[in-house]
Amino acid sequence: MGSVKHLHLADIGDEDVEPTAVIAAAGEGDLAAFEALYRRFAPRLYGLCLRLTGQREAAEDCVQESFVAAWRGLGRFEKRSRFSTWLQRIAIRTVISRRRGLRNAHEVGEPAAGLPDRPDPGGGAPPLDLERAIAALPEGARDVLVLVGIYGYSHAEAASALGVAEGTCKAQLHRARALLSAALGLEGS
């Protein structure tokens, strides 16, 4: 049994630099290292899940489930993508899976029911009207807009993550933008 390093948040360092040592330690079972990864990436995952689900409690559940799944799957992380990208794909799958489960149970929640009441203190002042308009979009359009419009996915990446065709992805983005423009009263809608 190898020695287990104990790495902490300070070891994560610059957010643009992949924390490979911390990831490796977590992969070997170091829970403290994994907590450091959680502290670093939870806000990004929560933002993604909140926008995909439109509900605070659902987003919290998805973030927790995603990190548990990541812990179990860390041994299979092959470093072909960035850790944050890998983590986000897990989160997207978790949201979609949860959505299917809720649909089966007829418990789909109201969109926009859990957005923050006030701007995130660490993230400047997000325009909440836009956030609520995004949350009110139909699921398919919202998913693509969030991934492509906010998180910078390419259409191919978004289509792969969501399990849809790339053409569907492009059409949904066009639809989302049109709906948003109309909802916000922007020109060209």
Partner: protein, 200 residues
């Protein structure tokens, strides 16, 4: 793709923060999930002949541990059931000479690990059996089991530290109990599935 969306919408989208701090700390829930569902351990080699021995051993092991934790002494009297009284099968040992069975302070009142001699003796024997049996496994399986054990123990230690800081937290008590159970389950899996054929 033709896009007649006004630039202002893209600008508004670009202003949105990608990161939003969760309104509460979600880490305890992550730990709970990790403790409840530790990393997958590959199934150990199994054979039909092992099924009966494994179920008997598991039953005896569980019974012995529960007995020790509740009553403070293992069921090892000469008149007791033969299977339950067999230390080699159940991984429990008789009390050391001169040690009197006494009620276990703290056991039952807390999910924390008991500290009485009976429990510690039974646990030490279980760990000894586990370590012996672990050596019989192939290196890859052994490495994975050891990694799982490190995960569980690390979680257990972290939760214990947190519990020391917040001794009244029922959530942490439950988490610690889950971690202890997971550790025993892992020992139990290895001991059961490597049970020698000669015992049956």
């Amino acid at each position: 793709m033709k896009d007649d969306t006004p630039a202002s919408l893209d600008e508004e989208l670009a202003k949105l923060a990608r990161e939003i701090s969760p309104p509460r700390d979600l880490w305890p829930g992550v730990v709970r999930g990790i403790v409840r569902e530790p990393r997958h351990t590959p199934p150990l080699a199994s054979a039909p002949w092992m099924a009966y021995a494994a179920s008997v051993a598991a039953l005896c092991l569980a019974a012995a541990l529960i007995w020790v934790m509740v009553y403070g002494r293992p069921p090892l009297s000469a008149s007791g059931p033969a299977t339950a009284a067999n230390p080699a099968v159940i991984g429990a040992v008789p009390l050391p000479p001169g040690v009197r069975p006494e009620p276990s302070p703290g056991v039952g009142a807390s999910f924390g690990e008991p500290s009485d001699a009976h429990y510690l003796a039974a646990r030490a024997e279980l760990e000894r059996t586990f370590n012996q049996r672990l050596k019989q496994l192939d290196p890859a399986t052994r490495a994975k089991i050891e990694a799982d054990l490190v995960s569980i123990r690390q979680a257990r230690d972290d939760i214990a530290k947190a519990l020391a800081a917040q001794p009244d937290s029922p959530v942490l008590e439950q988490l610690l109990a889950s971690a202890l159970h997971d550790e025993f389950d892992l020992y139990d899996d290895v001991v059961r599935t490597t049970q020698p054929n000669a015992r049956t």
